[in-house]
Symmetry: C2
Subunit: 351 residues, 2 copies
């Protein structure tokens, strides 16, 4: 029901997704009338919900008032009761703040995770993706949170991009370890120790331009910085795309040039098409939840479905959990010796 | 002497600058041999310095060891003794960290300014500029620092871009006043109060994409976030520019299309040419210091000279000082009544 366009986008995307994945099953959650077109689809179950969380509804409304919203009922589908859930992953194009709050309330966080984070990908110069988190769920992060993001993000890249040991960069304002504020410096120590303990593949500090250089598979940052970086990139891309359009329509000659350059420009456009990498993961919850961009069209929304499908097939939830448990165990092991549970990973380094 | 190319870039830029500004005088500071080509230039004075701060010299070296560096001697030229200085502004393409540290040490900060900040401009969709600060001088800022940045940045835009009451945006992760971390929320209150007291023209919160949308003339943020945003934008621009080059050389047809589209692509390139807006201002010091990008060519370096020239002709230093003094006075005025000096600007609002 969510997003700027609702079922007019999500239903065609679901139809196409089912056609392309003969082993996939969908559970569609929403108002009866909206779901009617999907009534006789194979491998598709309809679950009715009477309410809809609006894109501008405050979190409180989604959390306390609309108890039969499609968002809430959809999240409920992935809640495991006695190890079993009705669905493996939940995908929504709705209100991000509400989705995070309701998911956190219904699903709870995994052991060892203080706060869930939002992870998404940006394109890089190798025509690959750089995964980044947190993108806005947490505006104040401790060094410990940043370590948790690194663990969760590594599990995500391993599951979705098939890289077992993704490289991790800590977003900073210089490569040297002495750069940054106190939290970032401390996070650098924790990440370095986790790398030495074999829990992650830590590269070191990276800067904003490294996101697009593809210096590391994963970039870790607090949600404030991540959100500003994401929106700055979106804003620059929109401006440049507008400028190119303006230049190629400025005069009859420019229009002719556009016609001739069309195949080249089209290929360029495809290469940087943000719809191709739609679908952010809400990590750290006891269930898989993915967020599509609200403005997604059917092609973009189908890609969010694909990402959720890959993540669940590749056991993302278990992978996140395993990485967190390994870290907690490393911590306990070293705590026995040092009585300093916080320094875990650090003391492992010396072991 | 500074930058990636040294005098091979700075001297031609200075020559061209002198030719274009018949009323301008230059003081060139550097090693005797390097400055020799400028020996007989009119309106040009040479000041010799035996040492050079290297681009990778630690701040400590620049500050404590190289006491006769061109950087240090150049900054010394703008230091006012009994109200008189040898030069109105200092421009360097050298090591940013060293420049800031030496400038701060030699010139000191203005009354009412805790920390200097680095301000620069980004292009926006109106083919204008959005000024942004801080871009990396301060990795931990209080709300009070962000207010000082807003005051200094407003003075800069007023002096250089001729807008007497530039609009100010506070960089945040949402437009609503309740967004962001505690420091940002508190900064929002201070800026709102300063706006109501007529000290700045406060627009409200802006997001990363607003930099390029040109929503406000000025965007205020802490140096960590500003540096990440700047470098993210630089990285994306570099990647896109590479992709365009690759696409237009991919095949014989693409190369032909490039030839035909050349005038259009050239105009596009000029529009987003970052050399046009080279020259960051170090604000909050008792003297004007401008920083050129280290990789600047002669055209870019000349633009940094132009910005410094405009700033000094338009009394940037006095303007910054006046705005700070007005704020301090507003604060004292209201402090007399309320005994709450911190709430100054806030209580003015009620006055």
């Amino acid at each position: 029901m969510g997003g700027d366009h609702g079922p007019s986008v999500t239903l065609p995307a679901c139809r196409s997704f089912l056609d392309r994945h003969p082993d996939a099953e969908l559970v569609l959650v929403g108002q009866a009338q909206a779901l009617a077109p999907a009534e006789h689809w194979e491998r598709c179950q309809l679950v009715h919900a009477t309410e809809v969380v609006l894109m501008d509804d405050p979190v409180e409304i989604a959390l306390r008032k609309k108890r039969d919203s499609s968002m809430r009922v959809a999240i409920q589908q992935v809640k495991r009761v006695d190890g079993v859930a009705a669905a493996d992953a939940c995908i929504s194009a709705g209100n991000t703040g509400a989705l995070m709050a309701v998911a956190r309330y219904l699903l709870k966080t995994l052991d060892g995770i203080d706060r869930p984070a939002i992870a998404s990908v940006m394109p890089n110069q190798f025509d690959g993706y750089t995964t980044m988190l947190d993108l806005g769920a947490n505006v104040d992060c401790t060094a410990e949170h940043l370590l948790q993001f690194a663990l969760m993000g590594s599990a995500l890249v391993a599951a979705v991009d098939g890289k077992p040991q993704p490289t991790v960069g800590l977003l900073n304002i210089g490569e040297e370890a002495i750069k940054g504020n106190e939290i970032i410096k401390r996070a650098g120590e924790l990440l370095r120790a986790a790398g030495q303990a074999g829990l992650i593949n830590f590269h070191g500090n990276v800067e904003g331009n490294d996101i697009f250089k593809g210096t590391t598979d994963l970039v870790v940052c607090d949600g404030f910085v991540g959100n500003v970086a994401l929106k700055t990139a979106e804003g620059l891309a929109a401006m440049l795309s507008n400028f190119i359009k303006q230049e190629f329509t400025r005069s009859p000659y420019a229009k002719l040039a556009a016609l001739i350059a069309m195949p080249v420009l089209k290929h360029f456009k495809q290469r940087v098409d943000h719809r191709r990498y739609n679908g952010a993961a809400l990590l750290g919850l006891r269930g898989l939840v993915f967020k599509s961009h609200g403005s997604a069209d059917a092609y973009a929304f189908e890609n969010a479905l694909n990402r959720a499908y890959d993540a669940s097939r590749n056991r993302l939830l278990d992978r996140v959990h395993e990485r967190i448990l390994a870290t907690l165990q490393a911590r306990e092991g070293s705590a026995g010796g040092s009585g300093e549970p916080r320094e875990v990973v650090g003391s492992h380094q010396a072991a």
